[in-house]
């Protein structure tokens, strides 16, 4: 093992959340495959041919961290489960016009401050730096988030309808989407992700 770069980029909570959701969906699929093969094996013990492979089960350590972390991120005190890709993109785009540091922006996206006090905790010297912008920032944080928290299910459906918009069905947790907003140092990795939003539009400007 060799470490190339210890801190290549920051990830927002939502990006990790969607990564885990994606992993879970994949594992569910695999588990179904395993169940199916087990059933087959029980019925008749036949030679399955040279290319037959037994699917492996997910190892325990992966499962542990996944379940515990999802539990943490689904906590009612964190906004992560109520966020959507669109909301994160909207928020980062909106925060661009304020002179916030990268760390402050990341924390605003992660914690979605609901009150002046919560914002005060995150932003250093808030009174002097953002005398008049505080209410605007709080309003911006609320905008897309509130939409989903009112009636999560209903909002989720409309959100889905908006995004998919008669195109072929896509995995809503698909791939690296949100990472584009916060990650700057990297080119896209070689994977089969199909951007569902217009990424150029959503991308943060290169510093």
């Amino acid at each position: 093992m060799e470490i190339i770069k210890a801190r290549a980029a920051f990830l927002s909570n939502y990006e990790v959340y969607s990564l885990l959701q994606e992993m879970e969906a994949k594992q569910l699929e695999q588990t179904r495959a395993i169940m199916a093969t087990k059933k087959e094996e029980n019925s008749e013990d036949l030679y399955k041919g040279p290319n037959y492979v037994v699917p492996e089960e997910v190892s325990e350590n992966v499962r542990t961290i996944q379940v515990e972390l999802l539990q943490y991120l689904n906590n009612e005190n964190l906004p992560t489960a109520r966020q959507s890709e669109e909301a994160v993109a909207h928020l980062t785009r909106g925060l661009r016009k304020y002179q916030l540091t990268k760390a402050e922006k990341l924390q605003i996206v992660n914690l979605c401050p609901q009150s002046v006090l919560e914002l005060y905790v995150i932003v250093e010297e808030m009174e002097s730096r953002f005398e008049n912008d505080v209410d605007d920032i709080l309003k911006l944080v609320q905008e897309k988030l509130a939409e989903r928290s009112k009636n999560t299910q209903e909002a989720e459906e409309t959100y889905l309808a908006d995004v998919v918009d008669a195109e072929e069905e896509q995995d809503i947790w698909g791939g690296e989407g949100p990472s584009q907003y916060l990650e700057e140092e990297f080119e896209e990795g070689a994977d089969d992700f199909e951007p569902m939003l217009d990424i150029d539009e959503a991308r943060e400007p290169q510093d």
């Binding site: 770069k5 290549a8 920051f10 885990l20 290319n51």
Partner: protein, 227 residues
């Protein structure tokens, strides 16, 4: 809270996995090796984020495996200094408070990092903050304060804290020395490999219920001032 770390490693794929898509099996093998483990000076690994580079699989003399050289990125839990996080109170004693994040519970708040004036009520085994008193009040005076004025830190209460620092500790015993033989020193207390030191001193920090509604009041005041 989370970062990406780039790592290079060599992975062996067992022959029975040759039928699958190699990248998926590689990712699974890497997850098996790294997930939920602490890397020294890196942090707690969540899982593989993606593979960035992958060489050709090679067969070595002696086994039937395909060996791949891969470069990949890991999603890692490593909050930066001064980051604000939300956790739950796990336990408390005279020395301080321990906070859990469900998946990670080595967050320590030293008693010096509590809002002043603060004291440990040993009959209830809880810290309390006497917000009404002067910051340099003595402990004996604090213990005489009326119960209604004390803000206790309850177990399992959601709590907001600021990361002040972290520490890694390598617990690898190293190769045994021949002179000592195979002996285990059980007297040495086990230290966790990764600890976070946090603070809840300051406005807006500490149990969420302490501050519930305070921000809203501020907001209203601001609005009134605007008018």
């Amino acid at each position: 809270m989370f970062i990406l770390t780039e790592i290079r490693d060599t992975v062996a794929l067992q022959p029975h996995t040759f039928g699958f898509e190699p990248t998926e099996v590689i990712a699974r093998e890497l997850n098996k090796k790294y997930a939920n483990r602490i890397l020294q000076d890196i942090g707690l690994v969540i899982s593989v984020f993606d593979l960035t580079k992958c060489g050709e699989g090679k067969v070595r003399y002696g086994d039937g495996c395909l060996w791949y050289k891969v470069e990949f990125r890991l999603a890692v839990f490593r909050p930066f200094i001064s980051e604000v996080l939300i956790g739950k109170v796990k336990s408390q004693d005279e020395d301080g408070i321990r906070v859990t994040l469900t998946f990670f519970d080595e967050v320590h708040i030293d008693k010096s990092q509590l809002p002043a004036p603060c004291a440990f009520d040993s009959s209830r085994q809880k810290f309390f903050w006497a917000a009404q008193m002067e910051p340099d009040t003595k402990r004996t005076e604090l213990m005489d304060s009326p119960f209604q004025e004390r803000l206790y830190i309850e177990l399992d209460a959601p709590i907001r804290f600021r990361v002040e620092g972290d520490e890694f500790y390598d617990d690898e015993p190293g190769p045994p020395k021949a002179a000592q033989g195979a002996k285990y020193d059980l007297t040495v207390s086990k230290r966790p490999p990764y600890r976070i030191f946090a603070s809840i001193a300051g406005q807006g920090m500490g149990p969420l219920e302490w501050w519930a509604g305070v921000g809203q009041a501020d907001e209203q005041n601001n609005e009134q001032m605007d008018e």
